[in-house]
Amino acid sequence: MLIAAVLGWRTDVTWTASLPIYLAVAPLSTHLDALSSIFIGLLAVITISISTFSPGYLQHHNQETNWNCYWIELFLFIIGMMGVILAANALSFMIFWETMALSSAFLIVTDLSSYESRKAAFIYLGATRIATALLMTGFLWMHSLCNSWNFAQWHFVAGSTTVPALLILIAFCIKGGIWPFHVWLPYAHPAAPSPVSALMSGVMIKVALYALIRVLVMGGLCSVNLSCLMLALGVISAFWGVLGALMQHDLKTLLAYHSIENVGLILIAISLALISNLLHLPVVAGMCLAAAIFHCVNHGLFKSLLFLGAGTVDTRAHSRDLELLGGLAKSMPWTFLFFVIGSAAICALPPLNGFNSKWLVYQGLVQIAFNSHSLWIAGVAVVCVGLLALVSGMAMYCFTKAIGIAFLGRPRSQRAQHATEGDRGMLTAQALLAICCIFLGVCAPAALAVIQPVCSTAFTNAANLSLVYTIPMGVFALIIALLTIVIYWSWLSDRNGSVKHYITWECGFGSLTKRMQATATGFAENVAYTFAPLWQYHTESNIAGRDRRHFPDDISVEIHASMLLESRVYGPAVQLVRWLGEHVVLLQTGSVHLYLTYFLLTLVALMVIGVLI
């Protein structure tokens, strides 16, 4: 696959299946070019890492499961994603798209016995089917407009293509987990086994965005409303995702919500590319597209790194609940190191890869602000900068929480106390991804050089990225590293016994118990309080005892948070359908007389129609 990626970057390759294989009205054909090769490369790297990770993970997994099925489904899943990336026409796309969806749905239920995973799979299946239905509609529509199934011949320039474009956009948003279609994501990703969630979160939702770029952006979509809609959705999901992540205390759910945030970022970048193209700023457009693609790759890397880390924790500490973890840094140092690298990358801290793509997004925004002559566009761009800053601040909050509560401090439970380091395969996989993160962080120009041709094909005279990106990241990284080492060795390191070990300071109150540490809930309470209305967040504290002011006997705090979107929108919709179903079956009472009555009524109706027509 890597070879294919490299190959594709050099030259465009088109392959059409030979005659016996033919999808009735369109051939099964694939097309490999610079864009697809980048994603193939990402897929390849992550596939390699998870396949080294899986064996170690599977050993500690539930016994009910059938591993041959697991591997087969995984294979199908990867094939499906590859196919979607390579598909050259709508029908091939649909084939692989559905293969991807169904196989991943099965992968979610790898643990056959658990009810949650089944529920998650059903929710996911429903969501993805709705996406497919929208896609079908959009594709058929486009076909009747363009009279071709080839993506290459689809042009979204005419006004008549707005609605199909919207349908396709929504479909990809559902698959990509954009707000408000993200509901399936926080269920599906945690329920799946960690390698799978790494693959889903790392690649699958990127594949949806890839399809967005492939079909809409490459199709030259130029509808102002759609672009603005994308921007709005992107901003909301970036914010909502990180907020949700802050509210979560299950490690994998937290990561899942963060995927929503990053997908939102990517969508923002894509929409900026479209908008700046509409503003006749091809340079900026190219930059934003590059940002989108680059962030896809980066997020793929560090998110799967984090998921693998979470998986290691899950298998070795037998819990994903932050409140039960703690002090793992001691028992699993390497996992800890990789997790810190991943978190730093996702918080976009230099000199890691997350920063570079985010920097490109910021640059795109300010460039639009600089060059647009409309006050409003510029204003919106700058405000977006502020929002992104807020989001990245929240991201840091969230990941310091994750690391601090899970890995630092002292174990909060027996499980955490007896945790052990993951085996070699697991660590190798994470190491590989971590190295990729650092490499892409330090050697951004190389990555940008790979992305360059895509932007050039998408927008004529797009930016020359090597000129845009001017930060000598490598040098700075080197300086910081050297300075740190120097300072550390000159003062902090424990040479002449200048370091005395001692217990944590406790005001001389008496030794600290592990329950005196901060909880994840408490750590994130500030944000929860600030954005309480959005999550219906409220606490019920109950302090009882004779002298409850000074010597309370027992203190209990209950926290309630619910998602309006689920409770007010999707829930009722599902209920409605179910209600319909339950009342339709009442027609079928089993009485033959009633059935004959139906017959009679139909007969009369038809006769009347026959007479009247």
């Binding site: 001691k330 985010k358 300010v366 807020l390 300075l483 200048s498 944590t504 300071w505 944000v527």
Partner: protein, 316 residues
């Protein structure tokens, strides 16, 4: 010749100003409170003293705690070399504003983690609050700096803060509002009053101090030093904004500009001292309201920059 002089001068300032500024700040506070107070160079002595002391480290901690101080110091040093916080700071390039803002986020990340590392409740309080404040204050920082960058259509700080072009009428409000926003934001970021009272030692209320409660000896020295550096960098940047708004009135030679920028730095420190002695610490829940002022100021700056820009383009 002048180049070498410039470098020497800058290194000198970098070495001295952090200690002097904080010393000066404390001195003013003492005077306002009717005490004589320690000499201005006192912080420097304390720094040396701490460097000589050995450090106590909790067994709970990991390498994060051990290396955080060093990494912070290194990063702050790099930042101090890149951010144009003095008019005569030689230009080393690579001073993109987003890069620098995220570079400043790196030590924050490490500090928060080191606060959590010992597993002590106080450190956790501090870290949580620090993260919260940072989250709230970053939009203000970003927007104000972007607003300034709108004036010179570039994101390179040294270009933005280039004194060679004088500030026109429509740029004046932008610079002022920007200065205000930056100042307020820095107050929060440096966790000074009225957000946090660095001189109190009630763990439950502290932010920065609580976070670094476990540090001692050499470790503490480095933490303190990087904190001092942060003060001068942020206040220096604010001072530069003020300096620019002054250029509306008259044009400065390099010398005066340099002197002014240091003077303004001290002035800001003095203002901080006054604020800290006349105001009381805000309730924690009220902190966002305070930060809202910073955000509003930055938005003003943005609006000014945009409208002014339109105005200019139409007049051209």
């Amino acid at each position: 010749m002048t180049l070498i002089l410039k470098y020497a001068l800058f290194i000198l300032c970098l070495a001295l100003l952090p200690f002097l500024t904080i010393g000066w700040l404390r001195k003013i506070k003492a005077l306002l409170q009717g005490r004589i107070g320690a000499p201005i160079v006192q912080p420097f002595f304390e720094f040396i003293k701490l460097l000589r002391k050995s450090q106590k480290v909790s067994e709970t901690t990991t390498w994060i705690f051990r290396t955080a101080a060093a990494l912070n110091a290194a990063t702050m040093l790099l930042a101090a070399f890149l951010v144009p916080w003095l008019s005569f700071k030689p230009n080393f390039g690579g001073d993109d504003l987003f890069f620098l803002l995220y570079l400043l986020a790196l030590p924050r990340f490490m500090t928060i983690l080191s606060g959590l590392d010992a597993g002590s409740p106080f450190g956790a309080f501090g870290s949580s609050r620090e993260a919260y404040l940072a989250m709230l204050v970053e939009p203000a920082m970003f927007i104000s700096l972007v607003a300034l960058s709108l004036l010179s259509r570039t994101t390179s700080l040294s270009a933005i803060f280039d004194l060679s072009h004088r500030c026109s009428l429509y740029e004046l409000p932008v610079w002022l509002a920007g200065a205000l926003a930056l100042f307020l934001a820095s107050i929060v970021d440096l966790s000074r009053m009225p957000i946090d009272d660095p001189s109190t030692h009630l763990e439950l209320t502290m932010v920065h101090e609580a976070m670094t409660i476990e540090n001692s000896g050499k470790n503490l020295a480095l933490v303190e030093w990087s904190y001092f550096l942060k003060i001068v960098v942020l206040y220096g940047l604010t001072a530069q904004c003020l300096l620019h708004s002054l250029t509306y009135a008259c044009h400065f030679s390099q010398l005066i500009a340099g002197v002014l920028s240091i003077a303004l730095l001290f002035a800001l420190a003095a203002v901080t001292a006054i604020v800290e002695s006349v105001s009381v610490k805000l309730r924690w829940r009220a902190a966002p309201d305070f930060i809202a002022y910073a955000l509003t100021a930055s938005l003003f700056a943005m609006a000014g920059a945009l409208i002014g820009g339109i105005y200019v383009t139409h007049n051209l």
